[in-house]
Subunit: 201 residues, 2 copies
Amino acid sequence: MANGDSISIEVQDAKAAAKLEKVPMLAHPKNENKGWKKGIAITDFVLRLGALAAALGAAATMGMSDETLPFFTQFFQFEASYDDMPAFMFFVIAMALVGGYLVLSLPFSIVTIVRPHAVGPRLLLIITDTLALTLSASSGASATAIVYLAHNGNASANWLAVCDQFTDFCQGVSGAVVSSFVSVALLVILVILSACALRRN
Amino acid sequence: MANGDSISIEVQDAKAAAKLEKVPMLAHPKNENKGWKKGIAITDFVLRLGALAAALGAAATMGMSDETLPFFTQFFQFEASYDDMPAFMFFVIAMALVGGYLVLSLPFSIVTIVRPHAVGPRLLLIITDTLALTLSASSGASATAIVYLAHNGNASANWLAVCDQFTDFCQGVSGAVVSSFVSVALLVILVILSACALRRN
């Protein structure tokens, strides 16, 4: 393992230096560095739990949002559900995927707490977090575009606002979108934290 | 600067080790490491140029997409333009911002080529790249949701497809969306490359 090599070289150097003179400053920054990295790893774990809750909350809220209007004609009942809109279905699937990924990433986050200097798990986390961030931002943004249209309509394309009728549905969907943005913000912070922690080994 | 300290310690160690014995293996991995980092930095620069072209292309294509139908009534002329849709306006603004950011980031990318071991510029690039990625993915996805709706319409909400009339407009808009996804993919690769390059210093 290449990492092991560099460590053994460092030990050799330390020994060589110790033969010449006492160098207490060599040990001190290493410990301080470790505490700082452990702090980042614990923050990472806590934020990951927050992002997990936000993602699963968004998926559940969107998945359970449906409304049936209290009046109907002989042939037709007015009903709105998330599976009427492809963007909302993509939102539910993507948010459930991000939530599942965040659950699976928790053990790796714990590994970085136990071993603050391990590079492998952190690198894996930053790569997968970036992909989860992209998925999460895309699904949140596409659902937002549709929610905006449902609230306001569009005069040029002659698309009417449907939120006047389906008030509860629109409220549930808007809440899910807000929750997805919380998860996006937390994932951005997670990526930046991991980058800072990777900085010095 | 803390980084400078650690470098000076390393030089001291190397001197101390050199006094005791010849250690050619100390010099070799360092050089190899530097070449590897330089390769990543050059790839970063090239991909950054690609992402820049894709982002500016997307903004320009969307910004110039408008179509006026060849028939009109006495009071109304049928015209479609990107500023009819808030999602498309957000797309143009966000893509222009990402393009502008990518131009400004080129000097920092050149700094990482010249100094492959500099941590500061790389850390700055990974943080700002993550933000640009989020912005780019959001604007691309929201425009995609509207483009899909323009192509297919939605029976549940009674929104009709408008691409039957505005064929050229829809083609231009779809091209812009595809171009934005190219820029998103390149930004994801840029973030992952930067993370790999930060790994060992």
